[in-house]
C-alpha cells in the first residue's frame, strides 16, 4: 500500500496520507513529512525521541502531531526515519521516533517545510483504511 502522495496548493504543499488503520495513518504521516524534507532512506536510526501530543479531535491531533515532529527537526535537527505509535485515542497520541541529527554533509534538504497548517485538514475512512489530508507551508 502506498504511504502518501503530494498535491499542489498554490504556494503550499499538500500531503495525502494513507493507512490501513489510524495508527498506520499517523506513522505514515511522520514518514511523509520527513520523506518530503529529505531522502528518508539516508537517515540512520541512531537516536530515539518520545513524543506525546494532544488534540481536540482526530484532525487536530494529526496537525499537532506533525507540528511536534517538525519542531524536533527545527529545534535540534532531528530527522525521523520511523515512528512507532504506542497509544492513540480521540484526543491524545504517544509513541517513539527513531532517526538521527541532521548533518549537512550527509543529508540533502529537498523541501523545507516551515509549518504544518490546519487548513482543510481532514481524516476520512476509505475502502481500505483511512486517508488524511494536510497542507504544509513551504
Amino acid at each position: 500500500m502506498e504511504r502518501y502522495r503530494t498535491f499542489d496548493h498554490t504556494a503550499d504543499l499538500g500531503l495525502e496520507i494513507y493507512g490501513r488503520d489510524e495508527r498506520e495513518l499517523f506513522s505514515n504521516a511522520a514518514f511523509a513529512l520527513f520523506d518530503t524534507i529529505t531522502d528518508i532512506g539516508g537517515i540512520a536510526m541512531r537516536e530515539k525521541r518520545t513524543v506525546s501530543v494532544e488534540g481536540s479531535d482526530r484532525e487536530d491531533l494529526l496537525v499537532n502531531f506533525m507540528r511536534e515532529l517538525l519542531s524536533l527537526f527545527h529545534i535540534e535537527g532531528f530527522l525521523l526515519r520511523r515512528f512507532a505509535v504506542y497509544e492513540l485515542d480521540d484526543h491524545s497520541l504517544s509513541g517513539e521516533a527513531e532517526g538521527e541529527i541532521f548533518d549537512p554533509k550527509k543529508h540533502g534538504i529537498n523541501t523545507e517545510i516551515k509549518a504544518v497548517t490546519y487548513h482543510h485538514v481532514r481524516i476520512t475512512p476509505t475502502s481500505d483504511g483511512f486517508m488524511g489530508r494536510v497542507i504544509c507551508d513551504v
Binding site: 499542489d8 487536530d60 523545507e112 516551515k114
Partner: protein, 480 residues
C-alpha cells in the same frame, strides 16, 4: 473562479459588495489584465471572509500581487478598531516582519561589471543561507532576549552598522511593547541558532544596478542615480517568527470558539485586541519583528564588509548607505483620520508595505518632505522598484501598497515545468549570476512562477497608492 461577486469601479479598483455576514465591503486593486486570473485560488473569497471580523474599518483590502494565504490573503490589508477590534496571526503571516532593505553605494556598474562572479561567490561564502544554516553567533538566552526587546539597536550596539542605519529603518528597527515572556521556549530555541542567516525559499540577497529613474526630484532625495550599484536584502524573522505564529494560531484556535462571533473560516482564528491572548500575541509579534530587523541589519553589515574586502575599497570609497528598510508582514497600532477624527487602529499588512505620505511624523527627517521610500522586490534575478508613499494611500488604504511580485505557480509545479532546464544558465544568459544552497531552489523560484512585477507596480502607481521613483535591475543573486 469562486462564487464571489466582483464589481469594477475603475481601471484599477474592484469592489466585493457587502453580503451576508460581511461587516464592510471588499476592495481589490488590480488591472483588466490581472483581475481575470485572481479568482482561481479563492483569494477573493478570503478578502470577503476577512470582512466578517469584528471591528474591521472601511474595507477589507487586497493589493494587485494578492494570492491565497493562510486565512487572510497574501497582499491583504485590514485595519481593526483598537477598542473593539481583533488581531489575527493569520493576518500577519508566518514570517513575521519579512521585509526588504536596500543599501546603495557610490560604486558605478562600470567599476564592478567584471567582478560580479567574484562578488556573488564571496557573498555566498560569507552570508549563511539555506535550510538548517546556523548563524555565527552563539547567543545566550539572556542576549537573545535583548535582541527581542531592542531590535536593530542591539545589532548596532554590537558593532553591526551605525546609528544612521537605524534612522533609515521603518520604526527605527525597533517595535515597542515586545515581551519575551510571551514567547515559547521552542521559539527562543529556534531563534537562538538562526540569527544572522538569510533563510531559504523566496528570500535573497541581490546585487542590483539602478536602471531607470521615473521621478528625478524624489530620486535625488533618496540619493539614487542611473548606473549606481545597490544591494537588496529580502529576509525575515526565520524560524523564530514561524514558531510565534504557529504557537498563537494553535492557542487562538482553541479560544476563538468561546467568543461572541462566528468565523467563516477556522484559519481566521483571532482574539480581541483588548483580551489577554490579543495583547500577548502583539507582544510576541513585536519580539519577532525586532528579531527580523536585527537579522537584516547583520546581513547588511556583512555584505558591506564582503563587498569592500573583495573590491579592495575603503568604507569611504564604497559609500554604502541604507536607503530604507520596510516590513511587509506585520500588524501595527497606528493612527489615521477616520470620519474627521484621529483614530487608533491595528493595521494588518500581510504581503503589503507601509507607504506613508510626505509630512508624516513617522518618517525620518531626511525623507519627510518627499515621503516614505517603499521597496518592492521582484522575483529572483529581476530586480526591484523603489516607490514613494502618497497621501492617497494614507486616506484610502491605511497607508499601504503592494509588496512584490506574488506567486502564480506552486513550487512543485514550477519545479515540474522547468525540469531538464538549467535555470542557473538561463539566468546567466539574462545577465544575472545566481548561486543557491538548495537543490531545487532555482527551479522553484524561476521567474515565470511569479506575477510580472512591472504590472503589479503599474497598478499601485496608477491607483495612486505609491509612485514610481526608480527601477533596479539584478546582476547577481544569492539564495537559500
Amino acid at each position: 473562479m469562486s462564487d464571489i461577486r466582483i464589481e469594477k469601479i475603475d481601471d484599477f479598483l474592484w469592489i466585493i459588495p457587502r453580503v451576508g455576514g460581511m461587516r464592510v465591503p471588499g476592495m481589490i486593486y488590480s488591472s483588466r489584465d490581472m483581475i481575470g486570473s485572481i479568482g482561481a485560488d479563492e483569494s477573493p473569497k478570503q478578502v470577503a471572509n476577512v470582512a466578517h471580523l469584528p471591528g474591521i474599518i472601511k474595507y477589507s483590502m487586497a493589493m494587485p500581487d494578492m494570492h491565497w494565504g493562510y486565512g487572510f490573503p497574501i497582499g491583504g490589508v485590514a485595519a481593526f478598531d483598537a477598542a473593539d477590534g481583533i488581531i489575527s496571526p493569520g493576518g500577519v503571516g508566518y514570517d513575521i516582519n519579512c521585509g526588504v532593505r536596500l543599501m546603495t553605494t557610490k560604486l558605478h556598474v562600470e567599476e564592478i561589471k567584471n567582478r560580479i562572479p567574484d562578488l556573488v561567490t564571496a557573498l555566498f561564502r560569507d552570508i549563511p543561507t539555506g535550510v538548517g544554516s546556523k548563524g555565527p553567533l552563539n547567543l545566550s538566552a539572556k542576549e537573545e532576549k535583548k535582541v527581542l526587546l531592542e531590535g536593530a539597536t542591539w545589532a548596532v550596539d554590537h558593532g553591526y552598522g551605525s546609528t544612521d542605519d537605524l534612522l533609515s529603518t521603518e520604526d527605527e528597527g525597533k517595535m515597542g511593547g515586545a515581551d519575551p515572556d510571551c514567547v515559547s521556549d521552542k521559539a527562543l530555541e529556534r531563534g537562538k541558532q538562526q540569527l544572522g542567516t538569510l533563510g531559504s525559499g523566496n528570500h535573497f540577497l541581490e546585487i542590483e544596478v539602478v536602471e531607470e529613474i521615473f521621478d528625478e526630484a524624489v530620486a535625488r532625495a533618496f540619493h539614487l542615480e542611473v548606473g549606481q550599484v545597490a544591494v537588496a536584502i529580502h529576509s525575515g524573522s526565520r524560524g523564530f517568527g514561524y514558531q510565534v505564529c504557529d504557537d498563537y494560531l494553535a492557542r487562538m484556535m482553541k479560544t476563538v470558539g468561546k467568543l461572541d462571533f462566528s468565523l467563516p473560516d477556522r484559519q481566521l482564528a483571532c482574539a480581541y485586541l483588548r483580551s489577554n491572548e490579543g495583547k500577548e500575541y502583539l507582544s510576541a509579534m513585536a519580539c519577532a519583528a525586532n528579531y527580523a530587523w536585527t537579522n537584516r541589519q547583520m546581513l547588511m553589515h556583512w555584505t558591506r564588509e564582503t563587498l569592500g574586502r573583495t573590491l579592495k575599497k575603503s568604507p569611504r570609497e564604497m559609500g554604502a548607505r541604507l536607503l530604507y528598510d520596510v516590513c511587509h508582514n506585520i500588524a501595527k497600532m497606528e493612527s489615521f483620520p477616520i470620519e474627521g477624527r484621529e483614530k487608533k487602529v491595528c493595521v494588518h499588512r500581510k504581503g503589503a508595505t507601509r507607504a506613508f505620505p510626505p509630512g508624516h511624523r513617522a518618517l525620518p527627517e531626511q525623507y519627510r518632505t518627499v515621503g516614505q521610500p517603499v521597496l518592492i522586490p521582484g522575483d529572483m534575478g529581476t530586480g526591484s522598484y523603489v516607490l514613494v508613499g502618497t497621501e492617497k494611500a494614507y486616506r484610502e488604504t491605511f497607508g499601504s501598497t503592494c509588496h512584490g511580485a506574488g506567486r502564480v505557480m506552486s513550487r512543485s509545479k514550477a519545479a515540474k515545468t522547468t525540469r531538464g532546464r538549467s535555470i542557473g544558465r538561463e539566468m546567466a544568459e539574462r545577465g544575472v549570476v545566481v548561486m543557491a544552497t538548495g537543490k531545487r531552489t532555482l527551479s522553484e523560484e524561476v521567474p515565470e512562477a511569479y506575477k510580472d512585477i512591472d504590472k503589479v507596480v503599474d497598478v499601485v502607481h496608477n491607483a495612486g497608492l505609491s509612485r514610481k521613483v526608480a527601477r533596479l535591475r539584478a546582476v547577481g543573486c544569492i539564495k537559500g
